[in-house]
């Protein structure tokens, strides 16, 4: 993929997103002129970009969108929801096309019809008069063609025939042959019928001559629908009528066959002499457009420079003519704005450079004189006079001078940037060199000055690599304290040990800062996820016939990229649920005495080292009784629990797997598999989710997430001489319990801590280690209180070690089957620490 195409795709996405956002904002402020202008500009620019490539499907839709917005901008039609719907669809379609292009560098052939349909539905929103104008010449020329057809029904346009063919045909007629004139106009959708008109035409039996031409003026390439046939074939055949009828038997309605009267051939003899140019053209060449050249962007100018060809010369003459005509219009402007002098100077610069281009020193000095006089008198007439007088001469010298010519190299005033400084000294050859040198420096300096963008787009993989590297650095760094210890205990060099420790503290600080900095790079604002909600809420609420206002707060709150990314799905699910089951229809709300428009608030905020996201709706809330009953019916809770749990706990049962509360399954929030999926997704990134609901007033779902998953805080515990890590998220507290305090209730070990019965389990037993927990000298057991799934439980271990931050690596290969561990990490001494998955083992 060329860099230009990549740039195009990335900008298209950006703009499409911008257009979507602006359209959403328009919903609240439909008459905001600034917004409309901005919206128009985005669509306009996007269309302009697409025109650089051969993506007619995209250009067509965007063109229609631009026209539509142009009318809105000029107040000719009012903004409406219907209009926004249509534009949003169009933008979605553009995104689909971008995906096509990204995958295959071209647009899937099947999109042409969608594109036409999309453009049509946009145009359908325009007043009839505008549509007629916008649909352009393509249709307006149709009536003309028809009348021509009617006319030619009497007499085929034999004048088209080149002279030689006509004479040959006449000859055959005189020999008694019957000739037929065939006008074959393939249906515009013939390509979809499996027809190959060109092939059919060429295979016409007894074909003497044939031509093809468009039935209507071809639109600009960007708008050309290549799947629509707009050609008409004129054929002259010596085959008998039956054979021709047989040949065109599938398309009789598209063919008109006329027997040629020899008189017609001789009649038209003098009408056209040099029509051979017409006959030779089988199919009009695709108009040469920028689109065709765009792909060759780097090659094209070089090629153009290399061949001082006729084409180039023609291009140059065309450019010269257009520039001259523009200068004439500029000089004839009769307004006198305060920038008029500058405008005049610019026209002077242009004319001077045209004269220089022609290599005409005399003309150049004439321009300078004329300009000086114009500036002195404030009248444009002198330049205008010069222009009128020299026009022909300039064009002639432009044509006469292809190839290298005496470029006024000694004239440093050629460029306007030089003009002020050295206009007088232009004859001084000695000045030319320093001036040039200065110019070179000047040029370089200017290049150095090119200001790059202030933010960089970096490939995610690069940041991930940095993250991995810093992880390894942290681990290697942790080896230093071990080394210091060894220096002291093993080699007995206390001094060295101290020095190592000193160095370690420096490296430690730098590594910490570095880690922090890299984490900052990975931080993303939650707006990445939030930005899709305005559209989502709008579409869904309209589908459900509900009126919902979305409020977003704290969009700038940041968290690690992984956290933000894995937040998207759960959030969408929650929002859908709220819209579907939480918020009521306007009628119901009115009956309840609520405002008809429901409010859905999504709020993000940072609390200590966690990001908290709250989704609040003012809907009907969740009825704990219903949940309890459902949970009981589905066997999720037993009868005792049914009696015991309070409303708050009941509402949180919504997160249990297999609980669907909605009476009717809708296509929006799925089949009630929702909330348990949400919970597991949130837990996967070490988050928690709780729900609060008040029947009749609304529901709040609160998701709490760590700021970053990169570094896990782990407490190291010892069991049977081995070390294990326990994530600090699970650790409640560490206590030492005298062995005598242990109680056995129904074969399970418990202890009473602060008036609460805590079940105890030995880590050794859980991991299948046969050794029994060790007690210390005071006959106490080490108990690590952990929290797993809302339950607090005591783990009997042999001893507690320090708490460290480490980078957890998931288990790979064979080990990935070990659900008792959530991962492993490298310790400073090179050993591997297994990190326990508390939820799994208890």
């Amino acid at each position: 993929m060329t860099p230009l195409l990549e740039q195009f795709l990335s900008e298209s996405r950006e703009f499409s997103q911008g257009i979507g956002e602006k359209l959403m904002q328009m919903e609240d402020a439909p008459s905001d002129q600034g917004l409309i202008n901005e919206l128009f500009r985005l669509v306009h620019t996007l269309k302009g970009n697409s025109g650089l490539f051969t993506f007619p499907e995209m250009t067509r839709v965007l063109h229609a969108g631009e026209d539509l917005l142009g009318l809105v901008r000029n107040g000719q039609i009012a903004y409406s929801r219907e209009l926004a719907d249509c534009l949003l669809d169009a933008i979605d379609f553009v995104m689909v096309l971008c995906a096509d292009i990204e995958a295959t560098e071209q647009i899937d052939a099947s999109r042409a019809q969608d594109s036409a349909r999309m453009a049509e539905s946009l145009r359908a929103l325009m007043p009839a008069a505008q549509t007629a104008r916008s649909v352009s010449a393509a249709n307006s020329s149709k009536p003309a063609t028809i009348t021509q057809d009617a006319h030619s029904a009497e007499l085929p346009p034999l004048a088209e025939l080149p002279k030689a063919t006509r004479i040959e045909a006449l000859h055959q007629c005189h020999q008694g042959e019957t000739l037929h004139w065939i006008c074959y106009t393939p249906a515009s959708d013939c390509f979809f019928q499996g027809d190959d008109p060109l092939f059919s035409a060429r295979q016409t039996p007894g074909l003497l001559w044939g031509s093809a031409k468009p039935t209507e003026p071809l639109p600009p390439l960007a708008e050309l629908d290549t799947y629509r046939c707009v050609l008409e074939f004129h054929l002259l055949s010596a085959a008998p009528r039956e054979e021709l009828d047989e040949h065109f038997r599938y398309v009789p309605d598209q063919v008109r066959i006329v027997q040629v009267n020899p008189g017609w051939l001789s009649l038209s003899e003098d009408s056209s002499e040099d029509s051979s140019a017409v006959s030779a053209q089988p199919v009009p060449a695709v108009p040469e457009g920028a689109a065709g050249e765009a792909n060759l962007i780097s090659a094209a100018p070089l090629k153009a420079a290399a061949k001082a060809s006729i084409e180039d010369c023609a291009e140059q003459v065309a450019a010269l003519e257009s520039i001259l005509s523009a200068q004439r219009q500029i000089l004839m402007l009769d307004d006198r704005p305060d920038w008029g002098v500058g405008r005049l100077k610019a026209a002077g610069s242009v004319l001077l450079n045209l004269a220089n281009s022609a290599g005409d020193r005399v003309a150049a000095s004439e321009v300078e004189a004329a300009l000086a006089e114009c500036l002195a008198t404030g009248q444009n007439s002198m330049l205008l006079l010069w222009l009128e007088a020299s026009k022909e001469h300039l064009i002639a010298s432009c044509v006469a001078q292809p190839g290298p010519s005496a470029y006024p190299a000694s004239n440093p005033a050629a460029g306007p940037s030089k003009e002020p400084k050295e206009g007088a000294a232009e004859a001084e050859a000695s000045l030319a060199k320093p001036a040039a040198d200065e110019g070179i420096k000047f040029g370089r300096r200017a290049e150095d000055h090119v200001t790059g963008p202030r933010s960089l787009k970096v490939d995610q993989a690069k940041i991930d690599r940095l993250m991995n590297l810093i992880g390894e650095l942290v681990v290697s760094k942790n080896a230093l304290p071990y080394l210091a210890q060894r220096a002291e205990t093993h080699y007995g060099v206390r001094e060295l040990s101290r020095e190592i420790k000193g160095e370690y503290s420096v490296i430690n600080r730098i590594a910490d800062e570095m880690q922090d900095a890299i984490m900052q790079v990975r931080m993303m604002a939650v707006s990445f996820v939030f930005q899709r909600f305005p559209r989502l809420v709008r579409d869904i609420s309209r589908k459900l016939g509900k009126d919902v206002q979305l409020v977003l707060e704290g969009e700038q709150t940041e968290a690690d990229k992984n956290i933000i990314e894995s937040l998207a799905d759960p959030l969408i699910h929650i929002v859908r649920n709220s819209l579907d089951h939480g918020l009521e229809t306007p009628e119901v709300r009115r009956a309840c005495g609520k405002r008809e428009t429901g409010t859905l608030t999504i709020r993000a905020a940072q609390e200590a080292d966690r990001v908290v996201i709250e989704i609040t709706d003012d809907g009907k809330g969740i009825d704990p009784a219903v949940i309890k009953r459902k949970a009981y019916e589905k066997g999720l809770i037993d009868e005792a629990a049914l009696e015991r749990i309070d409303d708050r706990e009941a509402v949180n049962l919504i997160f249990a797997a297999g609980l669907s509360t909605s009476e009717v399954v809708s296509d929006l929030s799925g089949r009630g598999v929702g909330m348990d999926v949400v919970r597991s997704a949130v837990q996967k990134i070490n988050g928690t989710v709780v729900i609060e609901s008040k029947l009749g007033t609304g529901t709040t779902i609160r998701i709490s997430l760590p700021l970053s998953m990169a570094v896990t805080q782990v407490m190291i515990v010892e069991s049977d001489g081995q070390l294990f890590g326990v994530p600090m998220d699970n650790v409640v507290e560490t206590v030492r319990v005298p062995r005598s305090d242990l109680r056995a209730i129904k074969q399970s070990l418990t202890v009473v801590l602060r008036g609460r019965i805590v079940p105890l389990k030995a880590l050794n037993t859980l991991l299948g280690i046969s050794a029994s927990p060790r007690v210390n000298s005071d006959d106490e057991l080490a108990v690590l209180l952990v929290q797993a799934g809302g339950e607090v439980l005591g783990l009997l271990v042999d001893g507690f070690k320090e708490t460290i931050g480490l980078i957890q690596k998931p288990l790979a290969g064979f080990l990935s089957g070990l659900s008792a561990y959530s991962g492993s990490a490298l310790m400073g001494d090179g050993s591997v620490l297994m990190i326990l998955n508390i939820r799994e083992i208890v």
Binding site: A319, Q327, P402, I440, G443
Partner: protein, 129 residues
Amino acid sequence: MKRGLVVKRILIVDDAATVRMYHRGILESAGYTVDEALNGIEALEKALETPFDLLLVDINMPRLDGFGFLKELRRQPMPQPPAIMVSTEAEARDEVAAYRAGASCYLLKPVRPSQLLAHARLMLGEANK
């Protein structure tokens, strides 16, 4: 530079990065030095800081559009470089408005590479180099 000439500097003023890249590619391959501005304000800042030999200006831009930029530039007491106005708006109204604002000629997007180079060369006085 080869012939002791100053390399001509062209400023592309366009809010669309794709269009800037497209124009830049064409002009740079012809040996010109190119700078870019994303809107009228930025263009004005750059043009006032260091003079350019040619401007390539889009109409529809945020903050300050092509018309506004040219009018402001033409007010400045300084040498006035030619300006090619490039836009997709095909209406004649825009063409005259462009001249009124101080454009030197008007090209419709998408500009063909050879067309752009022909205009640029002529306006820079180097067409027959």
